[in-house]
Symmetry: none
Subunit: 416 residues, 2 copies
C-alpha cells in the first residue's frame, strides 16, 4: 500500500508559488508510516489530469489530491475524477446547507457558482471543510484504491487533514508503524569526506543514514521505521553514537539546533557572555546569535565595524596596524576581538574581517580570505585564517564566515 | 515541444524541504515561453526513476532533472539515465581535472567518491558547474528528446541554469515569444488595499497584473507575452506608471531592487553616509545593508546594542532615561540614532529598538512594539512607533522591523 500526492494548479506550473502543500502532506505521510514514492503537479486541464490519474492509479493505492475544488470554471478536480471513474455526480443537500450558512454568517448569500461545490461522485464520502466553502471527498472508486481530495488553500487543507484525514487513515490501520528521524549536524567537513568515513553505515536499512549538504553544513539524517518513538530511539541511538564518534569535533548538534543555539547553550552553562565585532559579515553574526529567543542572557551586542574608522573609534584597533597590515589580517582580527571584549566587558570577544567580494580582492588577499578572531575570558586572543574562494559569491562567503566564527567559538569554549 | 520537471530526492518525499527548485525552473520556463505541464518528484530509487522517465519521455520533449548528482552511493540520476537509454558511461578527464582543481583551491585533495561525478553518458555534453563539484549534462538520447540534469543544491542549480541552460535553450529557438515580467515592490500597504486600488488593472490580459504578498512586502507582477523585450516594455510601461501612481509613496522599487539597495542608491546620489544602532534586530539591519556589493561607500557600520550596557557604552544613551522610559521607547530610539550618528560621524543615524518576543512583553509594551529612530544630516532626530503584533513570531517581527527602518530612512532621504 503506497500513497501518491497529486497537486493541481496552474500557479504551480507557472512558478508563482512554492508547493507547500506537497511538503506538508509528505511530512504527514511519513509520520503515519504511509510509504509515498511519487508527487505530481499538473495544471487545471481535464485531459492531463486524467493522464496523471491513469499513471497514479496503476502504481499507488491512496491518491491524495490538492487544488481545483473551488467554485470557478477552471476548478475541475472533482468532475474529472468522476468522469475518469465513470461515476455520476450527485448534489449533496448537506453541502448546500453548509455553504449557505457560512455565507449567511458573513452577511452574504451563496453565489450560484458555489452550487458546483456540492456535486460529488456517487458513493463518495464528504471530507468536510470547516474553514472554507470547498469540501473534499474520501472515495473508493475501486476496491484497492482510495482517493482523498483537498482544496489548494493551505490553511483549509491542513485543517481538513488534521480533523478528518488523520482519523480516517488511522481507522484504516495506518499510524501504527511510523518513520522517526533525527538529523546530526556537522561543520568544517565536506559531505564526501564524512560519507567516506561513515562507510557502511550509509548502507544500513533500519535505520537508514542519508547525507545532505547545504551552505557549508553537512547533515546526516538517521531514519527508523518503528512502532513508537521509544522503539525508534532504540534503533537510532547506537547509530547516532557511532556517527558522532566519526564526526569528532565537526559534530555540533542535532535536529533544531543551530551553531548559534549550541554556542548559546555553552555560554549559558558556563555563565559567560559574548560580544562581537563584525566587518565583512556586517551584522550577520549578531543576527544569527539573536535569532535565539533568550539570547540576551549571554549576548550583549557589539560593533559593526564595516568602515576602518569604526574599527578605530568603537573597537580601539590601532590605526597604524590597520595601515601596515590591512583591515583583513590576523592582527586586526585579534585586535577587533580583544577590543570589543574589553570595551563591552564580556567574557568572550569574537570578530570577523574578510573580503566578501565581488570586488576588493588582490593577489595577496583574494576574495574569500577571512580572518576570525577569538578573545577568551583570560584575555588571550587568537586568530584563524580561512580561504572560502570566490566562486560561490558574496552571500555565501558572508554566511560561511559567520558560521565559521560561531563554530570556532564553540570549539574554543569546549576546549576551556 | 513541452518540458517536464523531474526532481529526485528522498528528502522531498519525506517533506524535509520545500521544492524551491521546481518553482524556480517553472518560472524560468515561463519566461522563455516553454510550455510545461507536469512536475514529478521521485526518490533516489533506480526502478522508480525509470518508471517516471518512461512516462515523461512519452509525453514531453525536454526533461529537466534536479538532484542525485552528488558523490554518494544514493546519488543515482546519471547512471539511471544512462541505463534507461542503454548508453555506456564514460569518464571525462576534464571533470576530474576541474574537481581536483576546486579541491586544491580549498587546500584539499579530491576524495575517491568524487570520481563518480566524472562519469557521464557517452554523447552527453557537460553542463558545467562553476560553483560546486557536480556537473550536469545536456543530452539528446533520442532525436526528439533533450535531457538536462542539475544538482539539487539550489545555488548551484540556479548558477548553471543562468550560465549554460538559458543560452542553450535560446540556441534551440526558445525565448523568442516569451513571457516578460516586471515586479513592482511596495512597503507599508496591505495586499488587499493595494489590490482594491488597482481595481480593473488586475483583470487585464496582456499584460496581466498579479499581486503577491510576503513578509510585509507586497509585489505586483506585470507579465506580458511579446516577441521581444522592447515589445514587452511597450505593453508594460504604461501599466507600471499607473500602478506606481496608485501605490504612491509605498512604491519603492522593482525587480532585483531591495529596500537596502534603494536606500544605498539614494545615499550614494546624495553623497551621504549611514550608521545604524540595533537592539531587537541584533545585526539584521546591518546585514541587509551590507548584502549590497559596494555598500562600504555609504554604510560605515554601527553598534549592536542588544544589552542596555552597550546602549550606554557605545551609543551614549542616557542611563537615567533608560531606567525611566525603558529601552523600548521613543526617547531611547532617538538617542540611539543620534548617538551612533555623532560617534561615527556619518550623515544619517538609524536605530531600532523593540520587543521581538516571544518573551519580554507587558500590557503597556506588548511583543511586537518597535521604535525606529532617524537622525538626519541636520542633527535632528525623530522616532516612529510600530506595533507588529505577536501572532507571526519573533523572526517576523525582527525582519519587518529592519525593513521598516530602511523604508523610514528611504522616505526621510526622499523628503530632504
Amino acid at each position: 500500500m503506497t500513497a501518491e500526492i497529486i497537486c493541481i494548479g496552474t500557479e504551480l506550473l507557472l512558478g508563482n508559488i512554492l508547493n507547500g502543500n506537497a511538503r506538508y502532506i509528505a511530512e504527514q505521510l511519513a509520520d503515519l508510516g504511509i510509504p509515498h514514492y511519487y508527487q505530481t503537479v499538473v495544471g487545471d486541464n481535464p485531459t492531463r489530469i486524467k493522464q496523471v490519474l491513469e499513471v497514479a492509479a496503476g502504481r499507488s493505492n491512496i491518491l491524495i489530491f490538492t487544488g481545483g475544488l473551488g467554485p470557478t470554471p477552471d476548478d475541475l478536480t472533482t468532475e474529472t475524477l468522476a468522469d475518469f471513474f465513470a461515476t455520476p455526480l450527485v448534489e449533496r443537500a448537506e453541502i448546500i446547507a453548509d455553504i449557505t450558512e457560512k455565507f449567511a454568517h458573513r452577511g452574504r448569500t451563496m453565489s450560484p457558482s458555489n452550487r458546483k461545490q456540492a456535486l460529488l461522485p456517487e458513493g463518495a464520502q464528504i471530507l468536510p471543510n470547516s474553514v472554507g466553502s470547498a469540501p473534499g471527498i474520501i472515495w473508493n472508486p475501486r476496491e484497492t484504491l482510495t482517493v482523498l481530495t483537498f482544496p489548494g488553500v493551505p490553511a483549509e487543507m491542513k485543517h481538513m487533514w488534521q480533523e478528518t484525514a488523520i482519523p480516517y487513515l488511522k481507522s484504516q490501520g495506518w499510524g501504527k508503524q511510523g518513520f522517526y528521524s533525527r538529523t546530526l549536524k556537522f561543520w568544517g567537513i565536506s559531505e564526501s569526506e564524512l560519507a567516506e568515513k561513515a562507510g557502511a553505515l550509509l548502507d544500513s536499512t533500519n535505520p537508514t543514514v542519508a547525507p545532505y549538504a547545504n551552505f557549508g553544513e553537512v547533515k546526516l539524517r538517521i531514519s527508523a521505521k518503528a512502532s513508537s518513538q521509544a522503539a525508534a530511539d532504540d534503533l537510532i541511538d547506537p547509530v547516532e553514537r557511532q556517527l558522532r564518534d566519526i564526526g569528532g569535533r565537526h559534530y555540533y548538534g542535532k535536529d533544531e539546533e543551530t551553531l548559534a543555539s549550541v554556542v548559546g547553550r555553552l555560554l549559558l552553562n558556563a555563565g559567560e557572555t559574548l560580544a562581537v565585532a563584525e566587518s565583512c559579515t556586517g551584522g550577520g553574526l549578531g543576527q544569527m546569535l539573536t535569532e535565539i529567543p533568550g539570547s540576551s542572557q549571554y549576548f550583549w551586542g557589539g560593533a559593526i565595524a564595516y568602515d576602518n574608522r569604526v574599527k578605530v573609534a568603537l573597537l580601539g584597533v590601532d590605526s597604524e596596524d590597520l595601515a601596515t597590515h590591512g583591515a583583513v589580517s590576523d592582527l586586526v582580527a585579534q585586535q577587533m576581538a580583544a577590543g570589543v571584549r574589553s570595551r563591552l566587558g564580556t567574557s568572550w570577544g569574537l570578530s570577523v574581517t574578510g573580503i566578501a567580494g565581488p570586488g576588493g580582492g588582490t593577489i595577496a588577499k583574494p576574495v574569500g580570505l577571512v580572518y576570525i578572531g577569538v578573545a577568551d575570558p583570560q584575555g588571550r586572543s587568537q586568530s584563524f585564517e580561512y580561504r572560502f574562494g570566490q566562486t560561490r559569491g558574496r552571500a555565501w562567503v558572508r554566511l560561511v564566515s559567520a558560521c565559521s566564527a560561531l563554530d570556532r567559538l564553540r570549539c574554543s569554549i569546549d576546549m576551556q
